[in-house]
């Protein structure tokens, strides 16, 4: 359940930004959670409900972008969608990969009153 730590991280980060902008609550929050980021969405959902209680995010509308995994094969330069970390390159079967996207874990933006 590291998802709870992640939710608490989001609450801290968003609270700091809202306070810096003179807001007392947050209306909307936009998150980016990559498909390879190690977040289990069911657990995240559960942790979210608990974590935002009595915080500025309690009534915020949440938008989540799930960025798909994408990798570059270091051996043959093929760029391909990466579903799992153990997928091999569809062109040369290589496993030496550089992950281009899918690891994101970000607060992108907030809408404040």
């Amino acid at each position: 359940m590291h998802e709870l730590s992640i939710v608490m991280g989001i609450v801290d980060l968003a609270t700091k930004q809202a306070l810096a902008n003179g807001a007392i609550h947050i209306e909307e929050i936009e998150l980016e959670i990559g498909c390879l980021s190690g977040i289990e969405m069911d657990s995240f959902e559960f942790a979210w409900k608990q974590g935002i209680r009595n915080s500025m995010l309690e009534h915020a509308v949440r938008h989540i972008h799930r960025t798909a995994g994408k990798a570059l094969c270091v051996d043959c330069d093929t760029v391909f969608p990466l579903q799992q970390l153990f997928d091999s390159c569809p062109n040369c079967n290589g496993h030496l990969l550089s992950i281009i996207s899918g690891k994101e874990l970000k607060v992108k933006s907030l809408v404040l009153p």
């Binding site: 930004q17 306070l19 902008n21 030496l96």
Partner: protein
Amino acid sequence: MCATCGCGPTDHHHSHDHGHSLGNEQNTGKKIVTVEQDILQENNLLAQRNRGFFEGRNILSLNLVSSPGSGKTTLLERTLTDLKGQLEFAVIEGDQQTANDADRINATGTKVTQINTGKGCHLDAHMVLHAVQGMKLKPDSVLFIENVGNLVCPAMFDLGESERVVVISVTEGDDKPLKYPDMFHSSTLCIINKIDLLPYVNFKVEKAKEYARKINPNLEIIELSCTSGAGLETWYDWLKSKVLLPV
């Protein structure tokens, strides 16, 4: 909030507000604030702070991760005893409850600090920072950080370690790397432990290695047994090669 010193997210002495926000007004009178910040940023900053501290003192810090019962503490006991006098050691023990592991390490005569995470399923850089503050670590030493036994959650949290060592034992399934790819992806060394039990279990070492290297082709792998002593020399050589002792 920090459980150790009670400092909050806004007033902490080692937090940084980077202020990347770009405020602009919408027609509705609402304000959109662009944040674009990593959720793990706070942890990652503290991890880098730890890393700088370790590098400045030439301390080799190793984050030991595994599922519960893979033999991390036994491996440490054996290592600390066998290499006594050759290398300087200190240990941070992470467990949800009890100081049992710290007691076992303490019995070897090594300096040890226990972190109890309570309900927490992993160590984070903040906990390590506070543990290290109370330890007076010696320069040119080795610090073992034994993480909470869990192959999932600790993967996401950089502690500032020099190397991450994942331990699996042959009493587990040889497909562990495929089931918990994040941990194998972020580790630099994999120890396959309890190889003295291989005749009695259905664990295929070559298969486990193949799976692990599918996820991380650069992963070094050492097979050993703390009971029979097989492979320990390779592990000790690896350790010694990583400690850059001043001439």
